[in-house]
């Protein structure tokens, strides 16, 4: 009798895989493979986190290794939560986060929508728009400090051209009312292209057939925009907001270069304040508690946001 296909397949299939190789069980082998990663994760992430939590209950200072370390309970947390300056820093961070996200989403989406139209030079415009995000934040900060100079800065001359004001009469980074907006403007200039690219990916993922069906149903452009474009781009947009939110929460270099956190404490964001506490004042215990509070805040907000994002994606 000739050999069938099934017979050949059966003979090619190896006999039951041995459960032990050189005396090691599958489970042991699996652990051997993942152990280096687990070890690295524990050493680089988990151990420092646990150590930071421990330090946050002490008065430890890293620049005084010989000094006695005292257990002070919740004193650091109490100090942070009752410190009006830290609350002002949180406020400044919230202002920066909210306005940068609002502007970047609005402008980024609009630019993506315009770029998505087919027109001549479309690719060139995309490249030009994307250019700012390719620069280093420190370079951008330095560059904009010159643009904002009251006597020689281009920005003041542009504003003066439209408003008729004296260019030397206001200082974007030197005045309390203007400095927070000065950093919002620069961050928006730099990172709107990022939001635009994500929105563009979302817009290009919408099949033309959906719009064709809507046309057949005689839906207006406005209705198509609100019932097709926006809902289908929304998950992409929310992802962009998540990325920008996390990035801007830890914003440091751009603001340090632009305003140094001033004037006064007007543009001191939490990351700048934390760095000063930890590595300039060397209040290690205090700054550990500060870092834990920020970590819990960001983790909590991000978790809620990711849940909302998943719900939108499921729709």
């Amino acid at each position: 009798m000739s050999e069938t296909v099934m017979d050949r397949a059966a003979s090619a299939t190896p006999k039951k895989v041995a459960r032990r190789i050189r005396g090691l069980s599958d489970r042991t082998i699996a652990w051997l493979f993942v152990a280096p990663t687990v070890f690295l994760l524990l050493a680089v992430n988990i151990f420092p986190l646990i150590w930071t939590i421990r330090l946050s209950f002490t008065n430890f200072r890293a620049n005084r290794p010989n000094a006695e370390v005292k257990w002070i309970g919740l004193r650091n947390y109490e100090r942070i939560l009752t410190d009006s300056d830290i609350w002002l820093t949180m406020q400044a961070t919230a202002h920066f986060l909210i306005w940068t996200i609002v502007f970047q989403v609005l402008i980024g989406f609009t630019l993506a929508w315009l770029i998505n139209k087919k027109f001549k030079g479309n690719d060139l415009w995309t490249t030009i728009i994307v250019f700012p995000m390719m620069l280093s934040p420190a370079v951008v900060g330095n560059f904009w400090t010159f643009l904002y100079q009251p006597q020689i800065g281009l920005f003041n001359y542009v504003v003066a051209f439209f408003t008729g004001a004296d260019p030397a009469s206001f200082s974007m980074i030197g005045e309390v009312a203007l400095a927070p907006w000065a950093i919002v403007i620069v961050d928006t200039w730099m990172w709107t292209p990022f939001v635009m690219l994500i929105c563009l990916a979302g817009l290009r993922s919408i099949p033309d057939t959906i719009y064709e069906a809507a046309e057949c149903d005689r839906a207006s452009k406005w209705r198509q925009f609100w019932t097709i474009t926006v809902p289908m781009v929304l998950p992409f947009l929310m992802l962009a907001v998540l990325f920008r939110g996390i990035e801007n929460f830890k914003m440091f270099d751009l603001v340090v270069q632009l305003t140094g956190g001033g004037p006064g404490n007007t543009t001191t964001l939490t990351s700048i304040d934390l760095k000063r506490e930890a590595f300039e004042k060397w209040r290690t215990g205090f700054s550990s508690a500060y870092a834990i509070i920020l970590f819990v805040t960001v983790f909590g907000l991000a978790s809620i946001y990711v849940k909302a994002l998943n719900k939108v994606k499921e729709r």
Binding site: G174, G260, P263, N265
Partner: protein, 440 residues
């Protein structure tokens, strides 16, 4: 024959070199800020290399990052620096954290006496605890905040006439802070040679130490004290005295009336730029810049004059700058580093240091009859060094400094609250720091 001669010469040179260095030539690294005096020190140190056989390398960090970079190095027990010209405020930390080698025995063995140096520099750069004969550095670079002014603008007949008519006195270097403000106000917004100029470039920088180094020049002279002279950590009523608040109000008034637009975050280099580019009539800055101003083709020579920080209603002081040179305790070449200090302390080396643009703190140099006339700014340097006062040198100086930066900048530049409120808040913060330190 030629080869034999060359080899003999090489062997002789090597032998001489070894003999000069005692036993072994070390490679020393000296750490300091990246500024003009550092370049002068490189030049000066060539003599040390030739004499000792040791080779020198230098690690210079720009001022804005100097403290961050170097204190990290010290705190981590790094071996990069054998010699450190650290800021005067670091002495307390350097001594208590064990970063610096105590130099008393070395000074005694080598016959180096602190009595040979300007007393204020010994207190400011070398001693910890202050006022005790415990030395952790040799005064290396004497510096102080003073003023530079556009002598050529002052001397213009139309300015002389208008100033006299307005203020009833001659336009000349001011003697009081009130006079200084009048002059700054006079030049603010004035057109000179077709260009709008401004009154004064003053320290307003927020991130490191700038505004503190500026505002203290007004605070001291209105009556601010770091504490009760009888009880150093009793701050209430001294730091925030009504007179001190008046001094802070003065500095804010000077900033509001008489500085260039956008000068809300200026320190040493921004002030130099503003002055050299002809934007301001007066410039507050540390004395180290004076040789550079004097040599500048636009503002140097007769175009500029120099004067010490003017007196106020509560006294006559100026903020001390400058640094001492210390041996880092983590260095593997401590003997060679001490050899450098011994060499640097010699009067002839100190004299050359002054000639190259470094400010010697050795009495033998500054009390030399020819010193006051050796440079146009030499007398101003002497007058200024006679009135110096320094910031805290406590181990926790950074916490004290940053608290002051915050409160003073918030009031002077951002216009938040009142001067009294700013100083009251400063007392609160400083008290907390000293409580944490176990000092009160």
């Amino acid at each position: 024959m030629k080869t034999t001669q060359l080899m003999s010469a090489a062997a002789l040179t090597a032998a001489t070199g070894f003999a000069a260095s005692g036993a072994q030539a070390d490679e020393l690294t000296l750490c300091w800020a990246a500024w003009d005096p550092a370049n002068a020190l490189i030049e000066l140190s060539k003599d040390f290399e030739a004499e000792s056989g040791h080779s020198m390398s230098f690690e210079f960090v720009p001022w804005p990052n100097f403290a961050d970079r170097m204190l990290n190095e010290l705190n981590s027990g790094g071996k990069l620096c054998d010699l450190m010209i650290g800021d005067s405020q670091w002495i307390g930390l350097g001594a208590e954290a064990g970063h610096y080698v105590k130099l008393n025995d070395f000074f005694e063995a080598e016959g180096i006496s602190m009595d040979d140096f300007i007393p204020a520099t010994v207190t400011g750069y070398s001693e910890w605890p202050k006022g005790t004969p415990n030395y952790w550095a040799l005064p290396a670079f004497g510096d102080v905040v003073g003023w530079t002014y556009r002598k050529d603008w002052f001397e213009m007949p139309e300015h002389q006439a208008e100033f006299k008519e307005t203020y009833g006195r001659d336009l000349k270097a001011p003697e009081t802070l009130a006079e200084l403000k009048d002059i700054a106000e006079f030049f603010q917004g004035r057109e000179i040679d077709g260009k709008t100029v401004y009154g004064a470039a003053i320290y307003t920088e927020r991130g490191s130490e700038g505004i503190t180094m500026g505002v203290t020049n007004a605070l001291y002279n209105y009556g601010f004290e770091y504490g009760n002279p009888e009880n150093p950590y009793e701050l209430e009523g001294y730091v925030n005295s009504p007179e001190a608040a008046e001094g802070l109000e003065y500095y804010k008034a000077l900033y509001d009336c008489c500085t260039p637009p956008g000068s809300s975050d200026w320190y040493m280099s921004a002030n130099i730029d503003a002055y050299k580019s002809g934007q301001v009539a007066l410039q507050m800055n540390f004395a180290f810049i004076w040789p550079g101003v004097n040599a500048d083709p636009n503002v140097g020579g007769d175009k500029s004059g120099y004067f010490p920080n003017p007196k106020g209603p509560g006294g006559h002081f100026a903020q001390l700058g400058g640094q001492g040179i210390s041996v880092v305790s983590y260095s593997d070449s401590q003997d060679a580093a001490l050899e450098y200090i011994k060499w640097f302390a010699q009067p002839e080396i100190q004299s050359k240091w002054w000639e190259l643009g470094g400010y010697s703190a050795l009495k033998a140099v500054v009390e030399d009859p020819g010193f006051a006339t050796s440079q146009p700014y030499a007398q101003t340097f002497l007058d200024s060094m006679a009135i110096v006062k320094d910031f805290w040198a406590e181990p926790a100086y950074a916490s004290l400094l940053l608290a002051m930066q915050d409160h003073v900048h918030s009031y002077v530049i951002a216009g938040e609250g009142t001067a009294q409120e700013a100083l009251d808040a400063l007392v609160e913060d400083w008290t907390e720091v000293f409580e944490d330190e176990g000092k009160i």
